[in-house]
Amino acid sequence: MAKQILSFTVNDEPVDVLVQPYVTLLDALREDLELTGPKEGCGTGDCGACTVHLDGKPVASCLMLAMQARGHAVRTIEGLGAIGALHPLQDAFVRLGVPQCGFCIPGVLMAAAAVIAETKHPTEEDIRYGIAGNLCRCTGYTKMVAAISEAAAQR
């Protein structure tokens, strides 16, 4: 079982990396590319902590083989904003003090980024539906919804 060359774009940079054919996209991002923002919560697509964007759409990176990302553009939380130039969602999460333990937050932010990209004026219902695939066990969802709503309104 030889490693294969995975050529794709990660956070706007072209990347070539050798991966085993049986590793998930999440493992390749975390172990080979040292992008540890996406987390493994459940490993079965139920918790959303591993959410990244594939060609702009949120996907559970724990359910994809790394090689299935070949030729595609992946964005992780590391590529959503930058230090000193936070994405409006990140800015709102910081200002409203949303994160507690923080484990789910990278996934929530990537799901929320898709919501505000797809819906111009998202309602509370749109936002809750958009992050229904993300489980949080400590922060709770009320502040998240408020922050996402605020970030959407500020655009």
């Binding site: 590793v23 998930t24 490993g43 958009g130």
Partner: protein, 287 residues
């Protein structure tokens, strides 16, 4: 995950050649059912064939006026959001919107949902009720199988190991048609149907010319409620007649009791969901 070799064919012929070779092989499209099964060791294929590079299974296009071609690797999210599916094949869009979360639906495919063949598969009842056919490629050419005959048991289908499901051929329901898919789940999101029902009706001069009702999660495979369908065809659809058909639909259900629901509860849900989906399908057909 256990180690495996990964093949990445570029067309259907390449894929069929790979399937014809020996050894335990699995096809992967979205991977949302397959990867959890491989992670927990339930299945241990020596080789996995990735369909993401095979253009033919990704088609989502009108079929020369006859209906629609829905490629096996079309995602649940595509069906949920495609305006053409939303207008003419509403039940299919509704079932796509119920699978997993958005992160899962952007990966999960209609072909995967069907080939995994869980009795509760949400996208199966609408395809059966729409009289869709599965288009299958194999070593001896292509064949078409009506969706009503595709499932042979729990997690079993008519597909042979050397065959590949290409697409679903979904006939146009015609004017004055309406459809609806509903399921019952204890939670609103990310759950598995206790019972699911798809209804499809076509009207001519306010008379029902065609009715299809398909039930999920009440038998080893999705089942049509043919007695209920026959009670509707040739009639004006009144609330009383719909109630009568909903009661008849229970006869088609052979549910089991499990952690998601008892036999009695499932039979009750068949009646309620059949009534609701028929009522909505009728309203949409009349609109």
């Amino acid at each position: 995950m256990r180690r495996f070799d990964l093949a990445t064919p570029h067309d259907v012929d390449d894929c069929l050649k790979l399937l014809a070779e020996r050894g335990e092989t699995k096809l992967v499209a979205g991977g949302t059912d397959l990867l959890p099964q491989m992670k927990n060791g339930l299945i241990r294929p020596a080789r996995v064939i990735d369909l993401s590079g095979v253009p033919e299974v990704h088609v989502l296009a009108p079929d020369d006026g006859r209906g629609f071609r829905v490629g096996a690797a079309v995602t649940a999210r595509q069906l949920e959001r495609d305006p053409r599916i939303q207008s003419a094949y509403r039940s299919l869009a509704e079932s796509g919107a119920l699978v997993g979360s958005i992160q899962v639906r952007n990966l999960a495919t209609v072909g995967g949902n069907i080939c995994n063949a869980a009795p509760s598969a949400d996208m199966a009842p609408p395809l059966v009720a729409l009289d869709a056919e599965a288009v299958i490629a194999g070593p001896r050419g292509r064949r078409r199988v009506p969706m009503a005959a595709f499932f042979t048991g729990v997690r079993r289908t008519v597909l042979a190991p050397e065959e590949l499901l290409l697409e679903f051929s979904v006939p146009a329901p015609g004017p004055h048609s309406g459809s609806c898919y509903l399921r019952h789940t204890p939670r609103r999101e990310l759950d598995i149907a206790v019972v699911g029902v798809a209804s499809q009706v076509t009207l001519a001069n306010s008379v029902c010319t065609k009715a299809r009702i398909c039930l999920a999660a009440v038998a080893p495979t999705p089942v049509r409620a043919t007695a209920a369908e026959q009670a509707l065809e040739g009639q004006r659809l009144t609330p009383e007649l719909i109630e009568q058909a909903a009661t008849l639909a229970i006869e088609a259900a052979k549910p089991i009791s499990d952690q998601r629901g008892s036999v009695e509860f499932r039979r009750h849900l068949v009646r309620v969901l059949t009534r609701r989906t028929l009522t909505t399908a009728l309203a949409r057909a009349s609109a």
